[in-house]
């Protein structure tokens, strides 16, 4: 290549006529890519170990944003300048204006992204509009369609730059398509390795971000180097350069105000809506403060990138041997001047720009495709399977990897279909407009609570269709040479539907027309749709969460460097896990990180571990919400709240079970206490009973012993005395026997082991027997009054037992009735309820204070002194009546003693 300096002759450096060989170039590329892998691995490792400072630096963040400047801008800006003058500046102007003027909007997006754990632009839109799956799919499709040509553009730029080095005739000339395949494959591999290493909750990829940050530096260095070379090597310093620019055609290019405005708006929209920009701007953001630095550093980066575009273009236009493609001036200018090293740097810069864009775009798209299309389909396909059996992580990762490969395949297919045509140059802007259709729904959703899912779907859908019809379709058709008549004449010959003449407009600038039409209709339908539809509750809630995100969440200030956070975490952990366990956990973590003291750096790893530990105690959702609240990583979303509520409900259920158990225990304890008290009382009663029995046995025995001794010891004893003493002994013996009989009888009755001898008997007969047995026949001590008519009742009962009761009552009356003319009235009442036999005497009755005692064993009342009997009669009678199904009760009465014997209705038999 023999070149002549345009103004200042300068010999080509030495005799190096040989161009850098293609193999050498490939080798350099391979070494470079290996270097990128190394950076990625180192960064991942550093991140796992708690993070290196540079990983979490705002500069890294800013550099990662530079994927905005792709190969299209790297090479294409110079081409654009050469063809259309300063128009290329709009591509930088838009983002700069957004970063400066709409910084608050960016901050809001970042905050929302963090608070809602947004994974992509599609997720953002879907999440805002009530987690709508349909919207997510729509945005995903839009993003894939808008990004695929863009990816193929990057592939094309790489193959083009290869071809520049390998001029025809050179041995081993590259096959463009083969190169593209290799590049795509390599990029897919890189993205898979660093984009799907693990399934981080936060979707951040430190290795990948570090690599693209490094590429951003290479990119900038290459551009600055070429620029400096052109200004000081080709021209004679800045002054000369400016003069040359003045003289060039670029300066004379007219400025089209409408197009400038449109393109600026487009570029500004793109920085907000491009999936890859959303990925680095929001998803990969680890600290909200980084955005503040990026607010000035990113525009500065863009300014530096664009600083030498015009000088290079001027040089390219003026220098011979730079070829006829201005898009390649960046390479051909140094090459034409023999600056092979510089050209190689530029090549690597372009390679960096292309690869970083493709990597991030593939990652962002794969997240969307797998999350919003593949996973829902997979879940639907396997919905009958137990969701616990499958390893969801593996499924998700596989879906991601397949998506990455798929996205790159699409790019490759598009590249092959388009045949590497130069028409690709306009693809960048077309892509921009495609993804910009998300803008109204995005910005509207963040700023306007009234925005609804219907509005968003209408807006995005309509804008998408208009864009596809007016720009995408003609572009595809043009590159593929298809359906030309439809394009020019409109479908079915409807002229105003023709993409070339939309609404019958004869536009000189299809892009601008499409921009105004698509975004205009999009915005209009978005607003109208929102106004005329009602949001569902989740939409309403999400709308409030998005619009008022600053009121609901704290800034994400990174997970590092704040001992205060570690302190808070420790306090919280202590509350939940107990002081000892929490202390040990934190200490071990601190030691593991090689830190002095007991507080570890709150690294993501540590937080994850802590969360797991806490989850064991309070449930996963609560643990996550707690850690997130303390680290400020997220506000608590609806799902979190529901999960927390679930856990709370479970805990409440558990505690109410415990409560019931403890209530049960308390009852058991109460019953035990009662039983114990009863036993104690029984024991006291037993002692008293034994004491009573002792007394009752000893009393007759005393008489018997004394009199028998008297009889034995007194020799001359008159017969009368002997007879009397013998009778006393005899009577007291009988008393003893009676007492023992009563005791046994009572024991049997109380134990319920009594055998009843049931039979049919007339009540009157039983009374007759009883009166006779008690020796109370007419003419006895007590007069008995009876009512034979009333007694004409037939009973089904144990006649002997009933008679026993009657005898006892009659005997008592005989013994205790102290009236002058003792009288016992026996009344019988028989009705449906049973039979009642009342024994009423005309004595003084029982003193009220002793009423309660009369049925007690051995309860001989004060008034009953000297009367025979052990005091078991009424106790036995009451037991007998209980066995017979009836009862015996004392009826207080002012005139005498009344006992009522009651028999149940079952004892009644028809007479």
């Amino acid at each position: 290549m023999t070149g002549r300096m345009a103004s200042r002759p300068r010999q080509r450096s030495g005799t190096t006529a040989e161009m850098l060989s293609f193999d050498g170039l490939v080798a350099v590329c391979v070494v470079y890519v290996v270097g990128l892998f190394a950076i990625g691995f180192i960064a991942e490792k550093a991140a796992r170990q708690g993070g290196a400072r540079w990983l979490n630096s705002p500069i890294t963040y800013t550099l990662s944003l530079s994927i905005y400047a792709t190969a299209w801008t790297f090479y294409g800006a110079v081409g654009s300048a050469a063809r259309s003058g300063l128009e290329f500046l709009t591509i930088y102007l838009g983002p700069t204006l957004v970063f400066v003027g709409w910084f608050w909007l960016l901050r809001k997006m970042v905050r929302i992204g963090r608070a809602q754990r947004i994974t992509s632009i599609a997720d953002m839109i879907s999440s805002r509009y009530g987690k709508s799956g349909g919207l997510a799919v729509l945005v995903t499709v839009l993003a894939v369609l808008g990004t695929t040509p863009y990816i193929s553009l990057q592939l094309q730029s790489v193959t083009l730059s290869f071809s520049v080095f390998a001029r025809p005739g050179t041995l081993g000339a590259p096959d463009a398509e083969q190169t593209a395949v290799w590049v795509a494959g390599g990029l897919a591999l890189f993205t898979i390795v660093f984009g799907t290493r693990s399934l981080d909750l936060n979707e951040r990829h430190p290795g990948l971000v570090s690599a693209i940050a490094f590429e951003a530096i290479v990119k900038l260095a290459a551009i600055l180097a070429v620029g400096a070379f052109v200004v000081w090597g080709v021209a004679d310093g800045p002054g000369d350069m400016l003069a040359r620019i003045e003289a060039s055609a670029i300066a004379r290019e007219p400025l089209n105000g409408a197009r400038w405005l449109g393109l600026t708006v487009l570029a500004g929209a793109a920085i907000l809506c491009l999936p890859r920009m959303f990925q680095v701007l929001v998803v990969e953001n680890s600290d909200e403060r980084h955005l503040a630095v990026a607010g000035w550093a990113f525009p500065l980066y863009l300014m530096l990138i664009s600083l030498f575009v015009v000088p290079v273009a001027v040089a390219g236009l003026s220098l011979p041997g730079t070829g006829d493609n201005p898009d390649l001036y960046m390479l051909t200018v140094p090459l034409s001047l023999g600056q092979d090293g510089l050209a190689l740097l530029v090549f690597l810069g372009g390679f960096s720009a292309a690869t970083s864009m493709v990597i991030v775009a593939a990652l962002a798209l794969s997240t969307m495709v797998s999350n919003h299309i593949i996973m829902p389909l997979w879940l639907r396909a396997t919905r009958h399977e137990d969701p616990m059996t499958g390893d969801m992580r593996r499924v998700v990762l596989t879906a991601r990897r397949l998506s990455i490969a798929g996205v790159l395949c699409l790019g490759l297919i598009y590249y092959r279909l388009s045949g590497g045509a130069e028409a690709l140059a306009s693809i960048g802007l077309i892509s921009f407009l495609g993804v910009a259709q998300v803008l109204p729904a995005l910005v509207g959703g963040i700023l306007w609570r009234g925005a609804t899912r219907v509005g968003a779907a209408l807006g995005i859908g309509s804008g998408f269709l208009i864009w596809a019809w007016l720009l995408l379709l003609p572009n595809v058709a043009e590159t593929g040479g298809l359906i030309a008549p439809v394009l020019s004449d409109g479908p079915f010959g409807i002229f105003w539907l023709s993409p070339e003449t939309p609404l019958g407009l004869q536009s000189t600038d299809p892009l601008l027309t499409a921009l105004v039409l698509s975004l205009g209709v999009n915005t209009l339908l978005f607003i109208l749709g929102s106004l005329f539809s009602f949001p569902n509750p989740l939409e309403r809630l999400q709308g409030a969460q998005f619009v008022n995100v600053f009121e609901h969440s704290r800034a994400l200030l990174g997970w590092r460097g704040s001992v205060g956070t570690a302190d808070d975490l420790l306090i919280m952990a202590q509350r939940i896990m107990g002081t000892g366990r929490a202390g040990r956990l934190f200490q071990e973590a601190a030691q593991g990180q090689g830190r002095d003291g007991d507080l570890p750096e709150p690294t993501p790893d540590f937080l994850e571990k802590l969360e797991r530990e806490l989850a064991g105690s309070v449930g996963a959702a609560t643990a996550h919400a707690m850690v997130a609240q303390i680290t400020g990583a997220a506000s608590v979303g609806v799902g979190d709240l529901l999960a927390v509520a679930d856990e709370a409900a479970q805990i409440m259920e558990y505690s109410s079970q415990l409560e019931a158990k403890s209530e049960e225990l308390a009852q058991t304890a109460r019953r035990l206490r009662e039983a114990n008290a009863k036993l104690t009382e029984l024991s006291v009663q037993k002692d008293a009973f034994l004491s009573q029995i002792s007394h009752e046995l000893r009393t007759p025995m005393t008489s018997i012993r004394s009199f028998s001794e008297i009889l034995m010891q007194t020799d001359p004893m008159d017969d009368a005395a002997r007879g009397r003493f013998s009778r006393i002994i005899h009577d007291e013996s009988l008393r003893l026997t009676r007492l023992l009989d009563d005791l046994l009888d009572l024991s049997v009755l109380e134990n319920g082991r009594v055998t009843l001898n049931m039979g049919e008997v007339a009540l009157g007969d039983v009374l007759d027997r009883a009166i006779h047995a008690a020796g109370a026949q007419a003419g006895g001590r007590i007069a008995i009054r009876r009512d034979p008519e009333a007694e004409a009742v037939t009973l089904w009962t144990d006649a002997d037992r009933l008679a026993q009761v009657f005898i006892n009552l009659i005997s008592n009356a005989q013994k205790y009735c102290d009236a002058e003319a003792p009288e016992l009235r026996i009344d019988v009442v028989a009705n449906g309820q049973g039979v009642e036999v009342e024994f009423a005497d005309n004595g003084k009755g029982i003193p009220a204070r002793q009423e309660a005692l009369i049925f007690e064993k051995f309860a001989r009342l004060d008034t009953a002194k000297g009367a025979p009997g052990a005091g078991l009669g009424l106790a036995i009678s009451r037991e007998v009546m209980a066995r017979l199904g009836g009862g015996l009760s004392y009826r207080p009465s002012p005139d005498g003693t009344r006992f009522r014997v009651r028999l149940p209705a079952q004892a009644l038999r028809a007479a």
Binding site: S691, S694, R698, T699, T702, S703, R705, S706, E709, K865
Partner: protein, 140 residues
């Protein structure tokens, strides 16, 4: 009842509600030469003591109306009867009754049923003792 023996000197009041036991006690003590009075009610026992002014009292614990222990307490509280020898009778036969009786100033204690000789022994001892040191009775 009819005969008196040489050993008894003075009057003995027996408070006992069981008629047969009262009769047996009376017979035995009379035969031993005592002037025996009987009384069956607890509530009027103190008045009977005041009326009879016995040289010795045989007192049943289980009395209707008023317990023998209460009567004993009142007797000991009264200067006129504080030194009256008292023999307590009980049919309950528990150690604590005995202890209680001695604590309240009983001079002797007999558990029913007792042998006649046992009774006479104690009565004799009580009658010969001037300083009424509590004397242990024979329990069963």
């Amino acid at each position: 009842m009819t005969e008196q023996t040489k050993t008894g000197t003075g009057t003995i009041l027996i408070v006992e509600d069981e008629g047969n036991i009262l009769e047996a006690l009376s017979f035995i003590l009379r035969r031993a030469g005592w002037d025996v009075r009987g009384h069956g009610k607890g509530e009027s026992a103190l008045e009977e003591v005041a009326r009879v002014v016995p040289d010795m009292l045989v007192l049943d614990v289980m009395l209707p109306g008023r317990s023998g222990l209460e009567i004993l307490r009142d007797l000991r509280a009264d200067a006129a009867t504080a030194d009256l020898p008292v023999l307590m009778l009980t049919a309950k036969g528990q150690a604590k009754d005995r202890e209680q009786a001695f604590a309240m100033g009983a001079n002797a204690f007999l558990t029913k049923p007792f042998s006649n000789s046992e009774l006479l022994e104690i009565v004799e001892r009580l009658s010969g003792v001037d300083d009424f040191r509590p004397a242990a009775g024979q329990g069963s």
